[in-house]
């Protein structure tokens, strides 16, 4: 058993979990929901073991480093954090159906990594040889993952809000019956961002501290830095929206979705379309 096989099992588990979540939406049978999250747990477990194994494998081939050093490893880690944040939220608040809107993000990440990327373990280039790599990447991605979950919840909120506007009768029928009430979705959205925002802040600060340590400048308006600040501004706006008249509800949900779009651009778009300090090694 090696890490690569386990990552394939993970991808498959997330696919099945997502499909069972969809079945849960349609069937409204509690046991189906339990099955869906159980498969998600199994996938998360397999992925955790796989990440630890990959870490060990890197030492076996003599280039030992945390598996957070290139695009492949970061996408895999991102997917892991998304499922982690989701199950934590489920343990605390028990709105299982959210999984139907969160697991697709995790699956997308794993599928892209497994099918479209080079999975080879590479040695660290000098710029990444620092303990800051671990702190910086872990905090950033936990933050990103919380925003992914918030985005899924916001999509549910907007679907629910849309259907309630469309029909006067209580939206107690069909798929939407499974959705938590709008008040709860709004609250969960806020709670996810409450987890994500401090982590993003820490991620930006650890990045700045690292940059200062390695290059003597904690902020240089590099596109990656600037985009992380843009994301920070959007979520800061979201947090203030909750106490601002006329910004509660749908507008806040849109801010959360825009925030996640900016997050994804910060994570991937900057590397694919712009130039700068974060080049993901060989890419």
């Amino acid at each position: 058993m090696n890490s690569s096989m386990l990552f394939n099992i993970t991808t498959f588990a997330y696919l099945i979990s997502m499909l069972v979540f969809f079945a849960f939406l349609a069937s409204r049978a509690k046991v189906v929901g339990t099955a869906a999250i159980a498969i998600a747990y199994a996938g998360l477990f397999a992925q955790s073991v796989a990440i630890a194994l990959r870490w060990k494998e890197s030492y076996d081939i003599g280039v030992g480093h945390a598996p957070l050093s290139n695009l492949y490893e970061s996408v895999v880690f991102f997917s892991w954090t998304i499922v982690l944040i989701y199950v934590l939220l489920d343990i605390k608040y028990k709105y299982r159906v959210i999984g139907a809107f969160v697991m697709p993000f995790a699956l997308l990440g794993m599928a892209w990594a497994q099918l479209g990327m080079n999975a080879g373990i590479e040695p660290l280039v000098p710029a990444l040889q620092s303990n800051w790599l671990l702190y910086h990447v872990v905090t950033c991605f936990l933050g990103y993952a919380a925003f992914a979950v918030a985005c899924g919840i916001s999509i549910m909120y907007l679907i629910k809000a849309g259907s309630e506007e469309a029909s006067d009768k209580a939206a107690g029928s069909g798929l939407l019956a499974m959705f938590p009430p709008m008040r709860v979705l709004d609250d969960l959205n806020y709670r996810s961002i409450m987890i994500g925002f401090p982590l993003l802040t820490l991620g930006i600060i650890t990045g700045a501290a690292w940059a200062n340590y390695a290059w003597g400048t904690y902020w240089s308006w590099d596109p990656k830095e600037t985009w992380s600040l843009i994301v920070w501004f959007v979520y800061a706006a979201f947090l203030h929206a909750r106490i601002t008249k006329g910004w509660v509800g749908k507008r806040a949900a849109w801010l959360s979705i825009i925030g996640f779009a900016a997050t994804i651009f910060c994570y991937l778009g900057v590397n694919l379309f712009l130039s700068g300090l974060h080049s993901y090694g060989g890419k």
Binding site: P198, W215, W227, V234, A262
Partner: protein, 459 residues
Amino acid sequence: MTTPKKDFLHSLWDFFCSLKLIMFLLIALAAISIIGTVIPQGIPPEEYIAQVSPAKIKLYKALGFFDMYHSWWFILLLYLLTVNLIACSIKRLPHIWKIVTQPVTTMNATLEKSLANVSIIHIANDPALLKEQTASFLEKEFAKPLVTEQDGAWHLFAQKTPWCRLSVYFVHLSVIIIFIGSMIGSIFGYKGFVNILEGETVSKVMLRSDEELDLGFSLRLEQFSVAKYSSGAPKEFKSILTVLENGKPVPDYINARVIVNDPLTYKGITFYQSSYGNAGNYFFTVTDLDGKNSVPLTVNSQSSVNLPDGSSMHVTEATDDVSPFAAGLSGPAAQVELHSPNGETESFVVYANHPELNIEHAKEHGKGPVLQYKGAEERMYTGLQVAKDPGVEIVWLGCFLMVFGIYFAFFLSHRRVWVRIQNGTVTVGGNANKNQGAFQQTFEGLVDRLKTELIKEKE
């Protein structure tokens, strides 16, 4: 007093205090910041200028797009944000401060009605005794209460983490502290760059503002080396440096190692491994086609030389062993670029162990001259970033305050419990400024246990 002037000031004040302004500023800053990630910052590279029309370049320059994060309009937005933060805090802080420092310690009917959590326990017992029991219960289970007697009723008040209401102001303050730190850095600090050849000593560095700065001491590069992984990817860039004061090495700063992610700091100035290169010489001989009239030729890796026929030549790359690049060949080789007087450019390889190939190449291109490669003398130089930033500690202080401020603001809540003991009833009220759902459970548990305790004590 409703003079127009006062009205204007008043509305200006309201404008700066408004949440709408902060929403506008945050979204505007987010949107505007995108410009500088799409348009290159600093001196625009030639490829960029070639892509974009001159009119656009002129417009972008006029708008300050090439240094937008230091442009007046971007700085103005940051100033507005600061003023907004301060104004909001001034407006709301006194009220919050009063809640924190002068709590309402008795629960009257109005307060009771406004509370989300109220429970009544009916119990016929001596009020003074009930008061004692409730007080010790609260101290044990929640927080030490303040007991007062008013209008024939006993009032108890207990609260937890009232100061967490202030944490949001610490977050706002932290933003301002970070701004102050960055200003101190830009006024009293500098960023610069220096290249040092192996064996060379420098005492001046070039600042980003194109000024030369005298360090007040000097720095000697003893050695520069590059280590590689077996795959050929770089593993380590290492400069060995010695600091000299008045020409004498400073103890503890002799043969100091500087690698990427591990800089050297001396007298508040820090040197960071940033780039490197070879400033050594390549040696050639130039002959006629028949091998006569041999003339030695030295080409520095940083410059080009003129050949007898008027063309200029420089070396783009060289190797000690060409075999990995060309099967069947061996020995040193250099890739050179020739610019002939008529404007033609050609790039080719000159070998040390294969003179016949060099002659063949010269023949193909006419009459010569023939170049023979003789090898290289490597002389590495290191490129160091130089920085001094006395504001950086203040920035970290701001960051520290921000992280803790956000944490406290999000995850702690000010929880208050009031108890009124009167006419055989114990009325308990509770309130939390955040996370009401969780507090409701805490509150219900608290009341249940209090009830059990009071009844048990009675029996």
